[in-house]
């Protein structure tokens, strides 16, 4: 039971992190002409943030709580 509640809280946290990362104003910080690792900054940022949120969700539901 305890484990379920924790996993649920982590998912909600992932949701909130995602909401913040995917939207204005954080998005606008990366919304400019710049190149990182040969990729446009905003393109790299959105995919990196996206992968990060998915990673968070996977961690939340798959990890066994000790």
């Amino acid at each position: 039971m305890h484990r379920r509640i924790l996993a649920g809280d982590r998912l909600i946290a992932a949701f909130l992190v995602g909401c913040a990362l995917f939207n204005y104003p954080l998005l606008s910080v990366f919304d400019r002409h710049a190149v990182i690792f040969e990729l446009p900054l905003v393109y790299a940022y959105v995919f990196a943030a996206w992968a990060f949120v998915i990673g968070l969700m996977a961690w939340a539901v798959e990890r066994r709580v000790k």
Binding site: G8, L11, G18, H33, I54, G55, A58
Partner: protein, 917 residues
């Protein structure tokens, strides 16, 4: 190689494969060996979200607005994080109430209303039609492109052709036929299609592989990696804006609106509801899907922008539609195998969507639109018919054909003016109208049927006015003045700047106004009056779905019905054989061999209704069951009363459980206390009997000598003095006995006074030896002491400890032979305490007696010959005293070689720690 016969054969083979998978899946399901009971399959089936919109349209969108194609995949990602809560609740509700579609869900929530179910169905069908048109457009244009291979010729406008010459018309018909064979072969009470889900999961795999293949081909085959493409783009002034920023036409508001819109679409699109909720096998699958499905979305989007940019660079100025880049890029390189793979991938994306969507819509049309109308107008003939399952299947098949033809019609009317994604967004905005009634219905008890009707109607009208009608206007089927000057020339009513609201793109604009009207009407009208009976009941069933409400529906039914009537009724819609099997299974679950009783109880009525609800919708099922059962209507007060009672009962039962737990604990304590009392009682009895016995001995002696003295006045003085001496010593023994008995009783009952303080054990031992020195002298015994200095203190009661020492020393003296006795007193430090030993060279104690001497009133030795000289309580008392201070007292002895009594006491610090711990 890519001639028409090859392409067509490949397509047909692929459809055949899908069909085989579906057939196999259904067969396994019938055998109880589900192949879709797997979280990965579940996540893949959810990827039916990715249609030709994603497969072809995203690239087209990216070619215009850069990363503006992405928010419709970020929204679902966020929703999946909440899916563990929202989807779980939807799944519970759907399973408990045998709900088969969104229309059924909403109608059931607001009191099983026919009107509401019908309205939702109309909105869903009208709203989804553009989406189906999108698939037709994408599939027909890719087929025409392929047929002109190796030339790349953009397909002509369908609107200018006759229907008979239009390829998309035939595609619509083929899809209809395929869907009919696929999804409506038989009628299932739960409307689950395991085979279909298996096929959809396969299609999701195929489209992902195809898209990644073309992405890798474009990025690394035509260009030299991502960096190369972006470098090329940087040198093109008119392409640079695509890679740098959120498109200016969309802005952050538009970006945010698309995230919200797609999040709602993922929950409320009929096909998503079908695969994620209705077809869910095991709610635990949600966990894996929560990240696997978003991961799928991420993978299928990685190469969208590179393909779009590659296409723009490659086909610059050639007039190739960006929506077709995914296919035309491999075609332009004459890469036939990849071209065919892309075509199959696009076919997967399109057929997957069309199959699931039309099956979901046809269930809605049948259950929530046609059945209620038939019930109203053709009740008579329905009730006479023996088996209606054929009719139900017929209605669904008709609905599938009608929906696809409507899709085709929309494609002819408006499809040409828009890119793929723009068409899809029109549909997304339509299903977003379900959000207030759905979410409100699951979390708010106050929503009413009137509120839901008003909200849905208002939102639908605003959607139609601000998004659907403009799409006709832009295609020339409505005058352009409608857009520029507003309806009736009223500027405030311009559909895409409604009431003068400007600065938003058309999607954000529509989303704002439609949800504003929708939520406003839903909440406003709901608040006008309190919920009625059916609404209050269903509100509880839905809102409390995650709590254990038990058979609430059954509690809320009162009336009379016959089992045979109910079974007959279910049989008419599901077929008699299926009904028979279902009722028999129910009886087995209830633990009865057969349903022999004539009267059905509320639970059975509930069961029959839920069976019917799967086939004809919950509202119609309600009406049909009411027709065979004599029901007593419940008033709102009664319902509220029952609901209150149900919740009170739950509270009471929890309270009761708590009380009973407490009671058990108390009983246990009482039992222990009682046992302790009994034990004490027994000890007291033991002591009493021993004591009286022990007291009698000295008393008898005293009495006997006293009588001798009294009866013989001429006794010699010497005898007289000897007898008096005996009397005195026996009286002393008696006093000692009584004192020690009282002492022991006090210790055992825990009422003894202990004055614990830090002591130097050496000092105590020396004091005791001094006190008994007279005894040793009398026996001419020698005392050796071995007492080291500077030992750590121990914690004990000084007087008690002296009592122990005196007892041990006097015991030792007692058994010494006169003249040759030796007693050795030792003291040494152990790891955690001190040990005192008293060793004598007396007769020793037999091994068998070594524990007995610590029992009360046990004196060893031959009591027949030697008169006992102790009380038999000294050692028991000593042992208890030592044990009280955490030590141990025992004896070591070899008979004939003397005995050693030892006791230990822990150091003062260790004792303190033990007390603290």
């Amino acid at each position: 190689m890519l001639e028409a016969p090859v392409v067509i054969t490949a397509a047909l083979l692929y459809l055949g494969l899908l069909f085989a998978v579906a057939w196999w899946g259904d067969r396994r399901a019938d055998q109880g060996k589900s192949i879709i009971a797997n979280p990965t399959i579940y996540a893949l089936s959810m990827a039916v979200y990715c249609t030709t919109w994603t497969f072809y349209g995203s690239v087209g969108r990216a070619a215009v607005s850069g990363i503006g194609f992405l928010p419709v995949y970020l929204g679902p990602t966020l929703v999946m994080a909440l899916g563990w809560f929202v989807l779980l609740k939807m799944i519970r509700i759907v399973k408990a109430n045998r709900i088969t579609s969104i229309a059924d869900f909403i109608s059931s929530r607001y009191g099983k209303s026919h009107l509401l179910g019908g309205l939702v169905t109309v909105i869903a069908v009208v709203g989804i039609i553009p989406y189906i048109a999108l698939q037709l457009k994408a599939m027909s244009s890719t087929v025409s492109l392929l047929l002109s291979y190796p030339e790349i010729v953009m397909p002509g406008r369908s609107a200018t052709m006759s229907v008979a010459a239009d390829m998309s018309f035939y595609i619509a018909l083929i899809l209809a036929a395929f869907t009919i064979v696929f999804g409506t072969r038989h009628l299932d009470a739960t409307e689950r299609h395991e085979g279909m889900v298996a096929a959809i999961a396969l299609e999701s795999g195929v489209k992902l592989v195809a898209f990644l293949a073309v992405g890798v081909f474009v990025t690394y085959g035509i260009y030299n990696g991502l960096g190369d493409i972006f470098e090329h783009v940087a040198t093109h002034p008119d392409l640079r804006h695509l890679v740098s920023a959120i498109p200016s036409g969309q802005g952050y508001t538009g970006w945010f609106a698309l995230i919200v819109l797609s999040a709602m679409a993922l929950l409320f699109l009929p096909r998503q509801f079908q695969v994620a909720v209705v077809e869910n096998v095991n709610e635990a699958h949600l966990k894996r899907a929560a990240w696997l499905f978003p991961l799928y979305l991420l993978l299928i989007n990685i190469f969208v922008l590179p393909i779009a940019l590659g296409g723009l660079l490659h086909f610059a100025g050639q007039g190739v539609d960006a929506d077709t880049f995914v296919l035309t890029l491999p075609m332009s390189q004459r890469h036939e195998g990849l071209t065919l793979l892309v075509f199959i991938g696009g076919l997967s994306a399109g057929t997957g969507m069309v199959i699931v969507e039309t099956i979901a819509l046809s269930t809605m049309v049948c259950n929530d639109l046609v059945m209620p109308l038939l019930l109203r107008h053709k009740r008579q003939s329905l009730e006479e018919s023996k088996d209606l399952s054929g009719l139900l299947l017929g209605i669904r098949r008709g609905a599938i054909v009608a929906i696809l033809l409507l899709g085709y019609l929309y494609f002819r009317l408006a499809g040409e003016a828009y890119a793929l994604v723009a068409i899809g967004l029109i549909s997304f905005s339509a299903v977003a109208q379900f959000a207030p009634a759905m979410i409100g219905g699951m979390y708010w008890r106050g929503g009413t049927r009137g509120g839901a009707l008003a909200g849905l109607a208002a939102g639908f009208v605003v959607w139609g006015y601000t998004l659907l009608l403009p799409s006709f206007a832009k295609s020339g089927w409505l005058p352009a003045a409608f857009l520029t000057q507003g309806m009736f020339g009223i500027e405030l009513l311009r559909p895409q700047q409604l009431f003068g609201l400007s600065g938003l793109d058309e999607i954000s604009h529509c989303l704002f106004w439609s949800l504003f009207a929708n939520i406003g009407a839903y909440v406003g009208v709901s608040l006008l009056r309190p919920p009625m009976v059916a609404e209050a009941t269903q509100a509880t069933v839905f809102v409390d779905a995650l709590k254990d409400t038990g058979q609430l529906g059954a509690v809320l039914w009162r009336g009379r019905a016959k089992v045979s009537d109910l079974q007959g009724l279910v049989g008419r819609f599901l077929g008699p054989a299926r009904a028979q099997a279902a009722f028999a299974a129910y009886a087995r679950r209830q633990g009865r061999g057969k349903l022999v009783t004539l009267e059905a109880d509320a639970q059975l009525v509930q069961f029959a209704e839920s069976l019917l609800a799967g086939a004809i919708g919950s509202a119609s099922a309600r009406v049909m069951v009411a027709s065979v059962a004599k029901e007593e209507p419940l008033s709102i007060d009664e319902v509220m009363h029952i609901l209150d009672e149900a919740s009170q009962l739950r509270t009471y039962s929890r309270e009761l459980e708590r009380k009973s737990r407490e009671l058990t604990a108390a009983t246990l304590e009482l039992q222990e206390a009682n046992e302790r009392l009994q034990e004490l009682d027994r000890v007291k009895d033991d002591i009493m009997s021993s004591v009286t016995h022990e007291l009698r001995t000295p008393l008898t002696s005293i009495r006997a000598f006293s009588e001798l003295l009294r009866d013989d006045p001429k006794m010699h003085l010497a005898d007289r003095e000897r007898f008096l001496g005996l009397i005195v010593s026996e009286a002393e023994r008696l006093t000692r006995l009584i004192n020690q008995t009282l002492d022991l009783a006090k210790i055992e009952s825990g009422r003894a006074d202990w004055n614990g303080c830090e002591l130097d054990l050496k000092e105590v031992v020396e004091q005791s030896i001094a006190a008994t020195s007279q005894l040793f002298r009398e026996k001419e015994a020698q005392v050796d002491v071995d007492l080291p200095d500077n030992l750590p203190p121990i914690l004990a009661d000084r007087d008690r400890l002296i009592q122990v020492m005196l007892n041990l020393l006097s015991n030792a003296v007692k058994f010494l032979a006169p003249g040759t006795g030796r007693v050795r007193v030792g003291l040494r430090a152990l790891a955690d305490g001190l040990e005192v030993s008293v060793t004598d060279n007396g007769p020793g104690i037999r091994p068998a007696d070594q524990e007995l001497i610590f029992e009360k009133f046990r004196q060893v030795g031959d009591t027949m010959t030697a008169k006992p000289s102790g009380t038999g309580l000294g050692l028991p008392i000593s042992r208890r005293i030592v044990e009280h201070f955490g030590g141990r007292l025992w004896v070591e002895s070899v008979p004939g070689e003397g005995a050693t009594f030892r006791f230990t006491l822990p150091f003062a610090e260790a004792n303190v720690e033990a007390t603290v711990a």
